[in-house]
Subunit: 724 residues, 2 copies
Amino acid sequence: MDFSSFVTSLGTSFLIFLVLMLLFTWLSRKPGNTVVYYPNRILKGLEPWEGGGSRTRNPLAWIREAMASTERDVISMSGIDTAVYFVFLATVMGILVLSGVMLLPALLPVAITDDSLAKTAKAKNETFSDLDKLSMGNINEKSPRLWAFLIATYWVSFVAYYLLWKAYNHVSALRAEALMSPDVKPEQFAVVVRDLPPVSDGQTIKEQVDSYFRSIYPDTFYRSMVVTDIKEVNKIWEELEGYKKKLARAEAIYADSKKSGSTEGTRPTNKIGFLGLVGKKVDTIDYCNEKIKELIPKLEAEQKATLREKQLPSAIVFFTSRVTAANAAQSLHAQMVDTWTVTDAPEPRQLIWSNLKIKFFERVTRQYLVYIIVALTITFFMIPIGLISAFTTLDNLKKYLPFLKPVVNIDAIKTVLEAYLPQIALILFLALLPKFLLFLSTIEGIPSQSHIVRAAAGKYFYFTVLNVFIGVTVGGTLFATFKTLEKHPNSIFTLLANSLPGNATFFVTFVALKFFVGYGLELSRIVPLIIFHLKRKYLCKTEADLKAAWLPGDLGYATRFPGDMLIFTIVICYSVIAPLIIPFGVVYFGLGWLLLRNQALNVYLPSFESYGKMWPHMHARVVTALLLYQVTMFGFFGAKKFFYAPILIPLPILSLLYAYVCSKKFYRSFATTALEVASRELKETPNMENIFRSFIPASLSSDKIDDDQFEDALSQVSRTGSMA
Amino acid sequence: MDFSSFVTSLGTSFLIFLVLMLLFTWLSRKPGNTVVYYPNRILKGLEPWEGGGSRTRNPLAWIREAMASTERDVISMSGIDTAVYFVFLATVMGILVLSGVMLLPALLPVAITDDSLAKTAKAKNETFSDLDKLSMGNINEKSPRLWAFLIATYWVSFVAYYLLWKAYNHVSALRAEALMSPDVKPEQFAVVVRDLPPVSDGQTIKEQVDSYFRSIYPDTFYRSMVVTDIKEVNKIWEELEGYKKKLARAEAIYADSKKSGSTEGTRPTNKIGFLGLVGKKVDTIDYCNEKIKELIPKLEAEQKATLREKQLPSAIVFFTSRVTAANAAQSLHAQMVDTWTVTDAPEPRQLIWSNLKIKFFERVTRQYLVYIIVALTITFFMIPIGLISAFTTLDNLKKYLPFLKPVVNIDAIKTVLEAYLPQIALILFLALLPKFLLFLSTIEGIPSQSHIVRAAAGKYFYFTVLNVFIGVTVGGTLFATFKTLEKHPNSIFTLLANSLPGNATFFVTFVALKFFVGYGLELSRIVPLIIFHLKRKYLCKTEADLKAAWLPGDLGYATRFPGDMLIFTIVICYSVIAPLIIPFGVVYFGLGWLLLRNQALNVYLPSFESYGKMWPHMHARVVTALLLYQVTMFGFFGAKKFFYAPILIPLPILSLLYAYVCSKKFYRSFATTALEVASRELKETPNMENIFRSFIPASLSSDKIDDDQFEDALSQVSRTGSMA
């Protein structure tokens, strides 16, 4: 890529970004769009804009607002997890800024005044771009100038260590502060108990759990809730909720028709067959009413049956004290580790009930099986895609799906299909991959949503780094230099090192594209906006429908964080080789910080709160990227035949040591709750009944069912002493 | 080694054993020797023999008694740790018995009817012994007879898995039972707190600890004891105790002399210089009295100073409930893991006060440094010994220690010295090695004696297995087959496999020698008996002296267990190759079980009780030996060019999996105390004051010092509420 095409590419991306930003400024002013651009504020009962004067707003006001917002604002609007994500963005940006401040003025002059590329180009009669002259590739082999790059390698590493250490301390304090908050949080009073042993004769599971925990915690045990198999009752409940929604919509349509059309109005109708497309036509309101009437007793019967007969060997146990709950979650209860496993409870909303029943060694087995599957997917993901695209050739399509023949035979479509079929398969695969990884993490048996997201993000990180970064870099070189490889069966890292300089410009463009176009789309929310307006116009009939149409998701850590890490890995690995990439990295994370600050404050709704448990995971990944960078640099100095390259050997060892010390010092307080934190005073005496009720799944909680019926699965209040 | 010399060697060993056993029968009957042969019973206040009729005793009565004793007897006489050691002996013996029952009748006929050795001997004109014909070495390459040996390899492994699993369950139950005992054990009410953070202004360490733990455990916190630097006070106290002892002896001598000699008696005197050899001559009684009078106020002053000024940033914290103590020991207390580290307290007698002050990361660092030193010692231990023996040649001795010249120049002595100097260096090294390993384990920073012993035993195991077993086996072959090695740079395991058959007879003799002579000496207690009688005759003057002379040590797990493991490793590795070794292994462990049962019941005094914490360590070592066996067998089948050898590949994987499952399922309850165990009811309300006092080191506890002075370092009783 020569210089002019590089600038063109950058310019185009920037132009798209500008257009999208202006679009955002214009669209977000319109009052009808506030639910798309400020849903988080609206749901929290705040004005869309501070001050409210929408017309007089500066187009760049959102930037000022994002800059002015404090960490405390973020926590109050979006929770600790979001604040931790900003710590990550700020830390990574800090690493790049401090690296750039030293590396750009020091290394660029050293590189541009050398002449390795010119010599090679002359010898081989090739050309090179001016951009390449600014990289380490322009340094002659064995040149003493390499010392500058070697010192730079150390500088970047130490900057990273320092800032990561500070960040870990800060996040640890954030987590501690949140956990010691005087507000009553139900999950702090509960623990999840799994792997209950078989019940002895004449005892119910509830009695077993109650007597076990009452004997260990006589003073602080409150009561327990036996986990039940709620699959069936959930199905009925969802069906019922569906009909209730349908009824509300039908009634709204009917009321509308009365107002606008004939005074009588037309009663809406629908077909009861497959997808409402076939079958008998019925009056929707009557039909729904009938169905609801039918389902309510069915649900109640199923609720009773579930509570009585579908108890599973696990339970949620409640304590009247935070300290006891934190203490219990960390302690071994039974002599055998695979019975009475006690762990801390996640928030009620993120508890995965169906995973609670999985037994200890089954969980371990599932975990390793999933790891193997993921490793295979990462290594061989091209094979099924290749097979699919081989199968989906035009000829095969015509053969197996003959009704497509007339369409496929059109020349234009034929050309497009022939060109893009493999790519479409790849794009489909990559789009489905996060879902697949989330699914894999779920079947590991993890009982909380946030943990599943963390596990999926870890898998996705390895996928992107190994396939996109190393794959793109090495892949191209591998075929080009197959002969030299056979002669020097070097390590993957040397190979990577040799491949890096050639791809520098490609990755700079990649980073720029990612932030200009990606963030432009993120800020302008064009897609959600269009979908919302379409839905509002054609589908939404009730207030609930409308809310569902604009209700935003969460930040989506499972894919967002690995995406950021890919950029960071690329930038850090190139930071010394081609320092010009650093400013682009800084802009990526700086712009990201700014934009997502706006989105976090105004748009996204967190779907869970794990009190920063994501951080050790982020930290470990950043150190992994650093390690990759250090090993690659060692290989690269080797390729430059630099005599002092072994001076770099301590660096990866230091990184491993650093990771070890960090995990030793900080990790345990992220895995569990430190007791000194849990022992802080509460604002009020916790209402244990509310805490208990908050863990009852929606499909099981019913106003009609009175407490007595719950007693089959849920233990009695210990304070009444009726069990003693 | 041919058959006759093998039988001769066995016969000699057996004869020695018989003689020693008869000696034991004869000597143990003499009433004067009961303190040597039955000290444990005497100290427990029991009759030396049950029934008491010493003269009418059957010479083999001890065997009947050992056989009749139950596990409960062992526990009551010698504790859980000893009982666990017998479980180890019984399990290992069980593995060998069950292996032998199948392997001996199945493999010996298969081996002896083949003719590989005869063919090779013919071709190379060598000889072979009849014993070798009974081994796998006599099977032809690629012979289908190898199937029998392959199945045998699997059989031995599965027998081991099954019995080890049963044993782990049993030991786990033993530990649980001991920990849930209704007796009050001080260590179950205490935790060790290390890495206290710097004290804030105006607070003492005691106040800091008290307020911290009282806020977390308001109901069950009792009080705390700040750890002090007792090095100085210990020194003075030991000096004082020494003079007290000396005084008692001098008075006894004086009283004796009055009775026997002149009516006046001779007052004993001593010189006060180096070792009592030089310096002024003084009257011992006066001198000691004077010294004691001098030291008592010095000790008291030092005690006060220690408690006030030499406080260290660690403490022992006491709770009024076992559950809370067990709970606290497992939970994270501070947000940062390297402050307020809480672990369970060992027994007061095995607490290493000087190690308590070592900080978190210093402990980790020390641990890894020690591991490196041990690895270097194991690998290169021959080098310093070689250097020492090179230095201690006769010429050097004469040069540096000229006064030895006349002795060394005697011909007989010269020959012996020249022949044995290197061996003496080796023997010295091997004799000092356990002490060295115990020292290394101590400087790791481990705060309890039993843990240090476990750590040292682990190190010693690797030393013996790697150096004695693999060293002897491979060492010889390595030099013999250096040329073939160069051609086939195979793994160490193939090499080991090739070396094994040649050494089978050597190791059989080694095992036999070890049990006949070793156990003979163990049972007869010749050495302690002679030492006791010598001391009684020439040194002991007081009752206390006499008791010190016969007081036995403990079983000495640090060397005993690795010794047993060496035998087990040898036997299991040869079990399939030369099944004839199995009966010898069975006799070793059977005889050991019997003999040590006698010694445990009658002789040894356990010096600590760790409630079976040694077991996971034993289990892991047995599985390690099994793994070595499986890998060696795979190599050996490869050397026999057996086509189906890869069928053995699943075995080592299975072993690793087995070890993983065992450690997952059982280990945590050995590392800590399960809460369901700690929550059992106690026989009586614990006397907290006694529990607290039992942790005060001897040098700090004094009747004269009243409680008020302790308050500097020891916190006040929480129940009085004076701190609130």
